[in-house]
Amino acid sequence: MAEFLRLALAIAGKDIRLELRSRTALLSAIVFSALVLVVFNFARDPTALAAVDLAPSVLWVTFAFGAVIALNRAFYVERENAALDGILLAPVPRSALYVGKLLANLAFVGVVEAVALPLFVLFFNVSLGHALPGILGVTALATIGFVAVGTIFSAMVVRTRFAELMLPVLLLPFMVPPLVGAVQVTAKLLAGRPLSEMVGWLRLLTLYDIGFVTLCILVFPAVVDE
């Protein structure tokens, strides 16, 4: 297990170092998320709908779009000089490669979300107050789920033409359950509702995470092997 984690961390570390060197995907995702928030801010009619009613959906649409851009780079970096073959040649369990990529993607999407959340507060003038720990918690829970699925789809589409288009087409339907759950929980947190009203959605998010992380680890070797 220690060896498995060591390999996964080596792969995640390499991905983070590559991204810090180029900064292309991360900066693009952050700028794109900021633009989505700006567009929503100016497109809404504040007299028709209160900001607090619209805010949860806007927040999660922003996170989802930013995540798709960040996830596109996951296996794209392995295309140059057939670097993925270099990893597949090594005595590395395929599932360790998946976990390494998942960890790196969680770090990237986490950074995008960490930048987008204060911008969201700024544009929508929403007071997070006591809801902040809960929102951070539900963000982590939902992000793990759709990044787990996004990581495996990123590996599936990387050898196809138009991979950048294929990823959102495949991923967005799978993002619906965690996004619906996260929007519901965020809305209740912002409205100051009791935890008992969110338990069902939190269970759904937890089950989604456990189910899809396990499934992806099991399926990934077949995805990367020709």
Partner: protein, 224 residues
Amino acid sequence: MRAFGALQVLRGVDLDVGPGELLAVAGPNGAGKTTLLRLLAGLMRPSSGEVRIRGQRLTRDDPAPRRAIGLLSHHTFLYDDLTAAENLQFTARLYGLPDAAAATRDALEEVGLSARANTPVRHLSRGLLQRAAIARALLHQPDILLLDEPFTGLDAPSADRFRSLLASQLARGRALVLVSHHLAEAWELATHVAVLTGGRWALEGRRPADLTAFHARYAELVHG
């Protein structure tokens, strides 16, 4: 055998390479040489048949036999935004080498790339890139070295140095399979030669003494 749909790229190809042996494989474009190396490296599964490393079957589920294989491919397997040293250190971690920094230093020294260790790979010339790729393939001291057109991009002194490196690998008991259009480059090192045409062995056996006679035989087999 390896097929892509109805197209059989390799058929009835059987080979056995022992310690200290170098099998040089020649063949025209599309003969299946690269496919053969990818099968031997475990990057591709045979449609039928099997690859065994020291008697142990090469499978997707068991990563251990892959430790014994080094592959120098058309592709360098290097990340352009990382330096040569960073690329090798990452590879060393994948292979679980106890001292990644020392292994990297030794491998770069062996190919004469120490002075450019901290240069991002994207700034290396074709020849230096090939040297970095050689260092990557040799880093974990594999027992079996698979070489696909290994002299590509190397200037004459670098090619001589690489030949010496291959000779030292053979002396250490490593098994080598080398695929090339120009067998002359490794003729003196080869212990066995084979010609692959249309996915089949057209010729296979111990290396003859005379390269010129082999070229005539090769032309006859390939061009008719």
